[in-house]
Each structure stands twice: as C-alpha cells, then as structure tokens.
Symmetry: C2
Subunit: 319 residues, 2 copies
Amino acid sequence: MHRTYSLRNQRAPTASELQNPPPPPSSTKNKFFGRGGLAYSFRKNAAGSFGPELSRKLNTLVKMEKNVLRSLEMVANERREAAKQLSVWGLENDDDVSDITDKLGVLIYEISELDDQFIDRYDQYRLTIKSIRDIEGSVQPSRDRKAKLADKIAYLKYKDPQSPKLEVLEQELVRAEAESLVAEAQLSNITRSKLRAAFNYQFDSIIEHSEKLALIAGYGKAMLELLDDSPVTPGETRPAYDGYEASKQIIMDAEGALNNWTLDSAQVKPTLSFRSDYYDEEEEEEELPEEEEEEEEELPEQHEVEEDEHYEEEPVVVA
Amino acid sequence: MHRTYSLRNQRAPTASELQNPPPPPSSTKNKFFGRGGLAYSFRKNAAGSFGPELSRKLNTLVKMEKNVLRSLEMVANERREAAKQLSVWGLENDDDVSDITDKLGVLIYEISELDDQFIDRYDQYRLTIKSIRDIEGSVQPSRDRKAKLADKIAYLKYKDPQSPKLEVLEQELVRAEAESLVAEAQLSNITRSKLRAAFNYQFDSIIEHSEKLALIAGYGKAMLELLDDSPVTPGETRPAYDGYEASKQIIMDAEGALNNWTLDSAQVKPTLSFRSDYYDEEEEEEELPEEEEEEEEELPEQHEVEEDEHYEEEPVVVA
C-alpha cells in the first residue's frame, strides 16, 4: 500500500500548487550530501545485523530515528545561527531594516527553540519504540527454547521411541509452551499499547510544533508589513521609521500566543468521512443513538464468538 | 532586543507545558555532532572573509541558509527511510499492527515529501536574499570611487591648492556623487522590496508546511484509534482485525485534505493587539470609518514635512 502510494509518478497538482506554482527544485539538493555521512549509515546497517533476530527490524528503525534526530538538531542549530546573522547584517542598515531584521531574527530564533523542544519530544517517541524492541528481544529466547525442545522430542521419537528421557522432555515442553504463551501475550499487548503511545506522542508533538511555527510565521508576516518598501528616487530620504513600538508589540503578541497555546486550542483539525470513535466502519453517520446502543450490545457477543473459536483453535495458536 | 529575548535564562512555563510537562532533553543531543561537519563551517567562515566588504555579512547568511537546507534535506531523507522501515517491521506482525504501521508509514512518507517541497521553497527565499547580496556587492565600487576621489582632492588642496587638476577632480567627484546617489537609492529600494518578498515567501512556505504537517498528524491519530490495544490474557486470541477499509479511508481523506489546502484556507491565524494595515500604531481600534479617512489625510502631510526636512539635510545624506 505504501509503495503504490509513494511510487505514483504523476500526481494531480494540489489546490495550493494551482494557487502558486511550485518553484524549481532547490539548487542545494545534492545526491552526495543529502545523506548523513558514515556514522549515519554505519548506525543503520549495524542495527540490522546484530542482536536477536526478532528485534532486528525494529532496532534498525530505532537507529534511523536517531539519524532523524541528529539531522533535526543540525537544522535547529544552523537556523539559530542564521537568525543571529540576519540580525547582525541588519545592524549596518537603516533604522527600519535594522529593527525589522532584528525582530525577524528573534522570531526565527524562536523557531529553533521550538525545534529543540520538538527534538526532546521526538526522542520520547523513539525511546517508546525502543521499549518494543526490548520486549521483542526478550521474547526471542523463549521461542528458541520451545523450538529446540520440540526438535529434540521429534528426534528422540524417531531414534528411540521408548527412551525414558522422552517423558521428561515432553513435560519440559509443556512448561516451555506455557512460558511462551505468556511471553507472546506480553509481546502482543506491549507492542500495541506502546505503538499507540509512541505515535500518539509523536503526532501530538508534530501538531504542537507545526501550529506554533505557523503562528510565528503569521507574526513574521505582520512584522514585514512594517517595512516600507515604496521606492525612493535618488537623493530622496525615506520617512523616518516609527515602527519600534509596533514591532515590539508583535514580538510580545507572538510570545503571548505561543505561551497560551495548548493541544486543546489546536486549530488544524482533520475531517474524516466517517466517525472516528467506532469499531465498525460500515455504520451510517445518520444512525440514531438507539441504534448505536444496539451496536454496542452486539459487539461483546461477537467477541465471545471469537473467543470460543479461539479456544478450539488453541493448539494451533500455541504451536 | 534579540539578545534580551534569547538570553532570558528562566522562562515562565507555557500553557501547553503546564498541560503536559516537557520531557527530559533528548538523549541523542551531542555537543560534537550537533553541528554539520567541516563543509558546513568552511562554507560559513569563507563567506565572511572574501568578496566586497559591504556584502560579506549577507553572504555569510546566504551560506548559513545553505547549511539549513542541507540539514533539512537530511531530515527528509532519513525520515523517508524510517517510514519505509516502519512498514517493513510491521509486515512481520499481526494483521492489525501490519496494516496500521504500513498506513502510518504512508503518512510519515508524505511528511518527507512535504519536507522536500518545503526545501524547494526555502531555497527560493535563499536565492532572493542572495540577490540583495549581489546588489550590495555591486554598490561597493561606486562608494569606493567616491571616497578615493574625495581623498585625492583633500590631499591636493593641502599640497597644491592652485593645481589645475583640482577642478577636473572636483567635476569627477560631482559625477561620482551622482552615480553613488543612484546606486544607494537602488540599494535602499531593492533591499527593502527583496527582503519583504523573501521573508513573505519563507513565512508562507512555513505556514503551508506546518498546517499540512498538523493535518497529517491529525489523520495519524485517527489511524491509531484503529489499533485495538486492550490487553489479552495468555492463550487468548485477539478479535480479527477489520480496519482495512477504515485505514484506507483515512489515507484517502488525508490525501484529499492535503490536496485541497490553500493559503486562504489556513487555520492558524495570529491575533495582533492592533490593526496590521496601519502606519500609526497608536490609532484606536474602536475608531469610526470617518476618523480613519482623516487619518489618511493626515499622513501625506506628515510625509511632506519629512521630505522638507530631508531637502535641507540633503548634503549630509549624500556625503
């Protein structure tokens, strides 16, 4: 599904692309430097080659996320430098350019600070994924032990079906299966709860980071309004700049808006073509509350049926 | 102003920090690797040491923005890899985890694609700043020539006040001053118009990028709702996963929302404590339209006064 999505070569232009057509590809893009150097690829490749089989793929993901974090950190640091440099350049210009570049620098510096906060949050997501990797790694030995015992029993049954060892081994296998059953249930539960927690955390962080950045950009645009760009003729001087109060006010407003932002006040909301608090996606939107209650009554039944089914199938599940 | 803002050591916690306290600093942060390697610092330092004096500071900024772009590109590439790896890992898990990680991968891959578009736009901002640097560089010779002529005249006046060369040089100075006057006016006009254009472009791109990311994160959260994380007891099987239709629908909704997004439909709006289409920030919000017209009548007068002032001061400005 991912591939069919990502490998579509020609997409229809989006509404905002029609509104203002996309620029040519960035001149800084480079097939050699777009990837983080040696350390990045070493980290990635090593993760997929060592450790318990079961956890290798997730281990690679954890390392890749570390690369993402490192790169995000570089963006934050470079942007912070650029913000300072903008202010330094502005200082040598006229009052209006000087004040406005300085204030724009403050706003862009704030973006870097937010990037920094986002990095800390993103790392929490990574650590949660890491804990799934750890449980995967810890389940591996119990799977291995069970498989080894089953092999041994099959071998003995073929070679020496009367061996007294066979009984001992079969009892051991029953114990190993019980242990494995618990381990697999733990894996199943922890994988799901951690996966949900990790991505909920990541998405919440993205929402906060994005909305705050959009706010800053909005205030930045207001700041630019203060810059009088009407052309002057040679020898004419510009009217004196009187935007100091206004530019300071914009910074203070921006600071206030950022300080008051909470996840509950988030503006950007996805619109789903069905209700999101459902289990049965076929249910109609216009259904009445009573019907919903019926639906809920139905669900436990369904569940029981499945549980019955599974008790029959149990040996298959354990094997 | 920037320093007092950025060097404030202790900030009051923001509303969202109170709602959920910030995590500890990311464990991947590193004082050695947070900066882009040799190439980054070389680019930055070289830019400030060569070329016309006047354009060095802005040249440094242009190079710093190139570093920002390179780092952004690394983030996009690493994130794209991570999205694929998430899907690869999920494939070995149960149906529900497999489908949901695959779809989350699609959403995160889309974030990378948007990062890529943002990079192209950010580069347009950088190129616009670059054109200010170029005009700065081209104004330098005319300033130098004027200064050199003035020096020569001062020297001759002291050494040989009757020299016939003096008159020629003074005529040359008048011409140089005229040329310089034009050059400075061009610099003043172009700096302002390009600065506004560059940052308006950057901020528009940030708004688009941010809102789209926030949208994707919202759909990601809806996707996570499909993952049943209620714990199972050992030996129990989970109810069969039936979210394929819903997860596909979420992707399609997300795609639709991204395609239909335009700058006009942006949700996050800054709130300013004064009107932004003003020149006089003291004007009251509750003023009547008639008053506004008076305000406008006032403005040209003010302008004329300032122009008068400048005509008196003209020699000072030209020197």
